[in-house]
């Protein structure tokens, strides 16, 4: 979306867009491609920046495809591909290709630790049920909490709201040019400031405590963690990217698998409480692997 310094009112901006649309289609094939993929206009704030406000569906459960029979019986919520395959064979058909087993199809994406810390990561991974701070209704931290579920944006701040297994969380990202807190209290989700890189909101978070993991598999971090997020809205989608840097323990910055968020017309449901009823009954350390 173009912005023009001589345009000072929304009316002027609208007229400008209409008058130049034909020109854009002639000189910018990339622009044509972008618009054809998502023809919904990107709403803007008075400062001409994309408005990220909305409830955003990130398809975290998109790999789960329940099967519901005609009578309304839910015959399967997870592991349905086995039933799908069995039914296909019963009909004399080839089973369909295996569906993804997680939102990124299980493709592992783990931070690379310096050699001297890899054993610790391995031990924490094996003893996840003892040490994972998120398993007891804890704050998952950043970027583990993932993209926000709802965003409320003003020109001087953006509020990210989350519904997580651990409960409801929020962050205020100040976009008024201020710096990070001076002598702050360290926190689970960090101290965030934001700025615009073109039409992309860049959020930088620092001053984390060390009580969270980057992902599930023993991926600890230090208070030196810095997380940079990038949110780019085009029409009714947001591309969300996050990079974690912790030079003390990570061999290189770690990039979370990018996520595409889709504007959700449904109202945001009340975040549920986290009520931990299982951990006292865990017998062994069996746990699954949540690839990022």
């Amino acid at each position: 979306m173009l912005s023009n310094p001589v345009i000072s009112t929304r009316k002027d901006r609208s007229r400008f867009v209409l008058l130049t649309l034909a020109t854009l289609t002639m000189i910018s094939p990339f622009h044509i491609a972008a618009q054809s993929e998502n023809s919904t206009p990107t709403p803007l704030l008075p400062n001409d920046k994309p408005d990220l406000t909305g409830t955003w569906y990130n398809d975290e459960m998109g790999w789960i495809n329940p099967i519901i029979d005609e009578d309304g019986s839910i015959v399967c919520i997870v592991g349905c591909e086995l039933l799908v395959a069995a039914r296909a064979r019963a009909r004399g058909e080839e089973p369909p290709a295996a569906a993804p087993s997680s939102y990124n199809d299980g493709a592992p994406n783990r931070p690379l630790y310096k050699a001297q810390y890899q054993e610790r990561v391995k031990e924490l991974d094996e003893r996840q049920v003892e040490f994972d701070p998120a398993l007891r209704c804890g704050n998952p931290g950043l970027p583990r909490i993932g993209p926000p579920d709802s965003i409320s944006q003003r020109t001087d701040q953006v509020i990210f709201m989350y519904e997580d297994l651990g409960g409801a969380f929020f962050r205020i990202i100040y976009t008024d040019g201020r710096d990070h807190w001076d002598n702050p209290e360290t926190t689970f989700l960090g101290d965030s400031i934001g700025y615009w890189d073109g039409d992309t909101l860049v959020v930088e978070a620092v001053n984390f405590n060390d009580e969270t993991w980057l992902i599930d598999d023993g991926a600890f971090h230090t208070r030196g963690l810095k997380v940079t997020e990038r949110l780019s809205r085009v029409g009714d989608t947001i591309l969300y990217q996050a990079t974690a840097e912790d030079p003390e323990v990570l061999a290189e910055p770690w990039e979370m698998t990018p996520r595409t968020l889709v504007l959700d017309a449904n109202p945001q449901m009340e975040p549920l409480p986290c009520v931990e009823l299982d951990m006292d009954h865990i017998v062994d350390g069996t746990h699954h692997d949540n690839a990022r």
């Binding site: 975290e60 398993l135 209704c137 009954h281 017998v283 699954h288």
Partner: protein, 140 residues
């Protein structure tokens, strides 16, 4: 006693399928989560009949309280965990349906491994109207 271990052959067949899929049951959330097999004995599948007294529509696991009437007439309250809310919502399941207006239900359950009485993982529930919900499917 209203606990009916299913016949060995049918239980074995169902358990094979369930064991094959059980890893998928626990790869649910974006944040870390312990395994069902670390808490519940998936080699046993119990069948309970009773009425749902309460549904705790919470994370990380939905829990229902099922009142089972024993053969001696005494009532036992089972605490049964199941999938997270996000999974249930995706399947169109809600707390009211689980409550089923207090009508009798049949559930299949993996019992707790640590020996805690009346604690289990609910793998399926069948309502008095004939419809049912299976978390991990059988092969029918």
């Amino acid at each position: 006693m209203s606990i009916n271990p299913k016949s060995h052959r049918s239980v074995f067949s169902m358990i094979k399928l369930i064991l094959a899929a059980i890893a998928l049951v626990v790869t649910a959330q974006a944040t870390g989560h312990h395994s069902v097999t670390g808490q519940f004995d998936v080699s046993q599948l119990l069948e309970l009949e009773g009425t749902v007294q309460r549904v705790r529509w919470v994370n990380p696991h939905i829990y229902i309280q099922l009142e089972v009437t024993e053969e001696n007439g005494e009532a036992t309250l089972w605490s049964l965990g199941t999938v997270p809310v996000a999974m249930a919502r995706r399947a169109g399941l809600n707390a009211d349906r689980l409550m089923s207006n207090g009508e009798p239900v049949s559930v299949t359950v993996f019992p707790a491994r640590d020996g805690t009485a009346n604690l289990g993982w609910m793998n399926s529930i069948e309502f008095s109207d004939g419809t049912s919900v299976s978390i991990v499917p059988d092969r029918r």
